[in-house]
């Protein structure tokens, strides 16, 4: 094993470089050359690192499959969570979390076209299939449809928005806001 300080720098810089390139670093990435940590050392090493001065920007996110890291200097936590969601592959959770968050904090309904954009990158047909399944699945009963007058499809969570409210927001975003430039 190399010098302790060098290893920290190697790991930190690798994470930061990946983040600049809009990539998360997975725990298993750190078992590869040149960092070459042992698989069972990685988690401890990372948790240690985040507490060291000069590495406060290194953040960890637990996904369903593995532990992810990123540098907060180059990526926000919410974006990192999105990437984790994409990596995790739990598509229902990924979509529903976005919709629920939108309905709660802005508040607004969610244009489904958002999910065809980066970092979601769903293909349209694939997306419609997933949405169809999602809205029939247990634990996602709050996810509802809201159509604009031009038939554009938006989704919202009825945990946070009533139908009337949601529909008014959809119409505003999709149609009327464009009429008031």
């Amino acid at each position: 094993m190399g010098d302790h300080k060098d290893i920290n720098l190697l790991i930190g810089e690798a994470i930061r470089l990946n983040t600049i390139n809009i990539k998360l670093t997975k725990a298993e990435d750190l078992t590869m050359e040149p960092i070459s940590l042992k698989a069972d050392e990685v988690t401890n090493k990372l948790e240690e690192l985040t507490k060291i001065e000069g590495y406060e920007d290194i953040k960890l996110l637990k996904g369903k499959k593995t532990l992810y890291c990123y540098s907060e200097k180059h990526m926000t936590g919410s974006y990192a969570k999105l990437l984790v969601g994409v990596e995790d592959g739990d598509l229902f959770a990924l979509i529903a979390d976005t919709i629920r968050n939108d309905s709660k904090i802005y508040p607004r309904t969610t244009d489904i076209k958002l999910f065809t954009k980066s970092p979601y990158n769903f293909k349209e047909k694939e997306l419609m299939d997933i949405l169809g399944q999602l809205m029939k699945s247990e634990g996602y009963e709050d996810i509802k449809e809201s159509r604009a007058s031009n038939n554009a499809l938006y989704l919202y969570s009825e945990l946070h928005l009533s139908k009337a409210y949601a529909d008014s927001l959809t119409e505003w975003i999709e149609v009327t806001s464009l009429e008031c430039p």
């Binding site: 983040t19 809009i22 180059h74 990526m75 926000t76 936590g77 919410s78 974006y79 999105l82 904090i105 802005y106 508040p107 607004r108 244009d111 958002l114 954009k117 980066s118 970092p119 928005l161 009533s162 009337a164 409210y165 949601a166 529909d167 008014s168 927001l169 505003w172 975003i173 009327t176 806001s177 009429e179 008031c180 430039p181």
Partner: protein
């Protein structure tokens, strides 16, 4: 050398009747800041009540301010003040244009240009620093704005800026503009220049603009400004998820993303991620062509453009070879309503030819270029809605002589062929036939053609006021706040202070917290489409919004960007810096001025506007004669009640309370909404109070 800084120190007065010029002292108006402030003061002092827009007794004031031309961020606006022909009382209004004209005024050594009288023959005004002359414009009269600009610029040293009217202004079409730099137009006053026989102003300046402060202090503020600035309309979150951002919002104008390009640039320019800390990508944040026209416009986008000293670049420039089919240049530029309004004249839709969205883009591009060359205004898109109403209600068929009606290319309109616009704009510009009455503006059209109540009372036609202007970020924007703002001027309110915040893309709790810090309580702002009953903080928010708007038009700064209420920076908790106007003002002029002191000057300017309106309307009863809102605002969403989530339908009693609270905030009479003697005196407008008193126009 003069010790005046910020301001140039001189105002040019041009008498067209006898062809004389006078240099006057700007500092006579220093309590009114500049721009709009100077405009309103001159109008008050020198233009008698009862004057009409096209009378020789009317004056037109081109105003720059102490920040114009300094390079202060977004300090490139030209304010133009005069009487507005489309208003039933021809009441005072201001129009503004972006571009570089006002900066050039400052470099020539002028803070404002007052034009009075009427020239016996067509002239253009030539200004090279302090060399001023009236030039023969007989070969320009009848020409469009583009050729006029080229001609005038050709007669002046390189770098000259030109403000001109087209044939619409010459013909005193009420809805006409004054234009500079090809796509930056000021609406409603073109005819005033036309009535005075002045075709253009060409100006070249080679002098410096001085500031009082040390350059290092100035550049520190510049650094702060560039740290907090957002994208177009000061939207501070991206429209798609970006690694640097916690939030995003589909309708944000921060549209940059990897792969979205200025497609017709050589080589194409990738807008990219646009991290807010990157100073070299601020001008890439808003791909305005795609925002205004849809995805189809990316391939035609040459670059963005805009005003002097502004890093935002909110005009799109397009190269569309198909435009040549209509006898136009393939090169067109504009932004927002400059495109959407011509598009709105195609009341039966757009051609479906070509790619998706191409037909709509063509309508907008054809119409924009026509309007920009003829110099036709639109009353904030109302001309298209007036046309729509008149046509769909059958009124047009009634009021147009049969021969004229048959001569209109209805088939082109039906097909969505923008060739229709070539015909339409010509008629408006040259006052051909009865259809051209649309160029008089909504009030006069509705009167002459006897528009029904359904015009005024239907939300489809956007009419805000019986004085003939439409809504412009009104009840749908912060409910009572937007509604109050929209009722205060003599044309559509051109205030974006409030809508920049509500459209910023930030979550509502952050917006409320921020405005709470500025106004005094987060109750100043409601969640979108879910508003609550009136409270005093909303009145304060409306007041602050307008005051800042007036200040910006006087300093001159762009109110589509300022104030810096919020910022894109997570590390600042998205706080902006609302003291930047006063910091810039203090540094430029050398007059230490706090945020509150500068706001007071804005209050003075806005109250003067109110006093002018009272004088010109001959009544103190602003509440019932000036401020009322068209019915639809109270009757939309018939199945819903006000104050419930899902509607911005207003409540009559609540709005009357809103007006009362607003009048109170302004120190105006709470019953009538007219400025009181006490307030006028408090604001240093004793002479205004005296004159109003003499006219019996002070509230009891």
């Amino acid at each position: 050398m003069s010790n005046i800084t910020g301001w140039a120190g001189k105002i040019l007065r041009v008498n067209l009747t006898d062809g004389t010029f006078k240099a006057e002292d700007t500092l006579k108006y220093k309590d009114f800041v500049g721009g709009m402030g100077i405009g309103y003061k001159v109008m008050w002092d020198e233009v008698p009540a009862g004057t009409k827009a096209f009378d020789p007794e009317n004056k037109i004031i081109f105003g720059a301010g102490p920040l114009t031309g300094t390079g202060a961020v977004c300090a490139g606006r030209t304010n133009i003040t005069s009487l507005l022909a489309s208003n039933p009382y021809n009441a005072v209004s201001d129009s503004h244009m972006g571009g570089h004209f006002s900066a050039e005024m400052k470099y020539a050594g002028w803070d404002a240009i007052i034009i009075e009288g009427k020239s016996p023959k067509p002239v253009w005004l030539k200004i090279e620093n302090d060399k001023v002359s009236l030039e023969d414009a007989r070969y320009l009269w009848g020409k469009g704005i583009f050729l006029t600009t080229a001609f005038v610029a050709g007669k002046m040293p390189k770098g000259a800026q030109v403000a001109a009217i087209g044939q619409a202004g010459e013909n005193m079409v009420n809805l006409s503009v004054i234009m500079n730099n090809g796509s930056h137009s000021a609406g409603g006053h073109g005819g005033v220049m036309g009535s005075k026989n002045i075709k253009a102003i060409g100006i070249r300046g080679t002098l410096p603009v001085h500031i009082a402060a040390d350059r290092r202090d100035w550049l520190e503020v510049d650094k702060e400004m560039m740290a907090v600035i957002g994208a177009n309309n000061n939207h501070v979150v991206p429209s798609t998820p970006q690694p640097w951002a916690e939030y995003n919002a589909a309708r944000s104008r921060w549209t940059a993303t990897d792969g979205l390009t200025w497609g017709a640039a050589n080589p194409p320019v990738n807008t990219g991620t646009c991290d807010p800390h990157d100073l070299n990508s601020v001008g890439l944040r808003t791909q305005k062509a795609v925002f205004d026209h849809g995805a189809v416009a990316e391939q035609y986008t040459v670059r963005m453009g805009g005003c002097h000293a502004c890093p935002i670049r909110c005009h799109s420039t397009l190269h569309i070879p198909k435009l040549e089919k209509y006898g136009l240049s393939p090169n067109v530029s504009n932004t927002c309503v400059g495109y959407s309004s011509p598009g709105g004249i195609m009341i039966q839709g757009h051609s479906k030819e070509g790619e998706e969205g191409e037909g709509t883009m063509m309508s907008k591009a054809v119409g924009a270029q026509l309007a920009d060359d003829y110099g036709v205004w639109c009353n904030y898109s109302q001309i298209g809605r007036d046309f729509k109403y008149a046509h769909e209600s059958g009124i047009l068929k009634k009021v147009l002589p049969q021969e004229e009606y048959d001569s209109i290319p209805w088939d082109l309109l039906e097909k969505g062929d923008p060739e229709f616009l070539v015909d339409f704009y010509r008629r408006i510009t040259f006052k051909e036939g009865e259809l051209s009455r649309l160029g008089e503006g909504a009030y006069w059209v509705a009167k002459a053609w006897n528009f029904g109540d359904d015009y005024w009372n239907s939300s489809s036609y956007n009419m805000w006021s019986k004085l003939g202007f439409p809504k412009h970020h009104s009840n749908e924007t912060a409910a009572q706040v937007g509604s109050l703002i929209n009722s205060m001027f003599n044309r559509d309110a051109q205030c974006h202070t409030h809508v920049n915040l509500t459209g910023s893309g930030l979550p509502i709790e952050i917006q409320k917290a921020v405005i709470g810090e500025v106004i005094g309580s987060p109750d100043a702002l409601d969640a979108p489409n879910s508003y609550t009953p009136m409270n005093e903080y909303k009145a304060k928010f409306a007041k602050w919004s307008i005051i800042r708007n007036c200040l910006h038009d006087s300093l001159t700064l762009c109110n589509w960007m300022w104030p810096m209420t919020v910022s894109p920076l997570k590390e600042r908790n998205y706080r902006g810096n609302t003291s930047l106007e006063s910091q810039y003002f203090s540094m430029a002029t050398g007059i230490p001025t706090t945020e509150a002191e500068l706001d007071l000057m804005g209050e003075r300017i806005f109250t003067l506007h109110r006093a002018l309106t009272v004088k010109q309307m001959g009544t103190v009863d602003m509440r019932n004669e000036h401020d009322p809102i068209c019915e639809w605002v109270y009757t939309i969403n018939p199945d819903m009640q006000p104050f419930t989530p899902g509607t911005q339908k207003m409540d009559r009693e609540d709005m009357q309370l809103a007006f009362t609270m607003f009048y109170k905030e302004m120190g105006w009479d709470e019953k009538t909404g007219a400025p009181t003697k006490a307030t006028l005196i408090r604001l240093g407008l004793r002479d205004v109070a005296a004159e109003l008193e003499k006219l019996g126009l002070l509230p009891n």
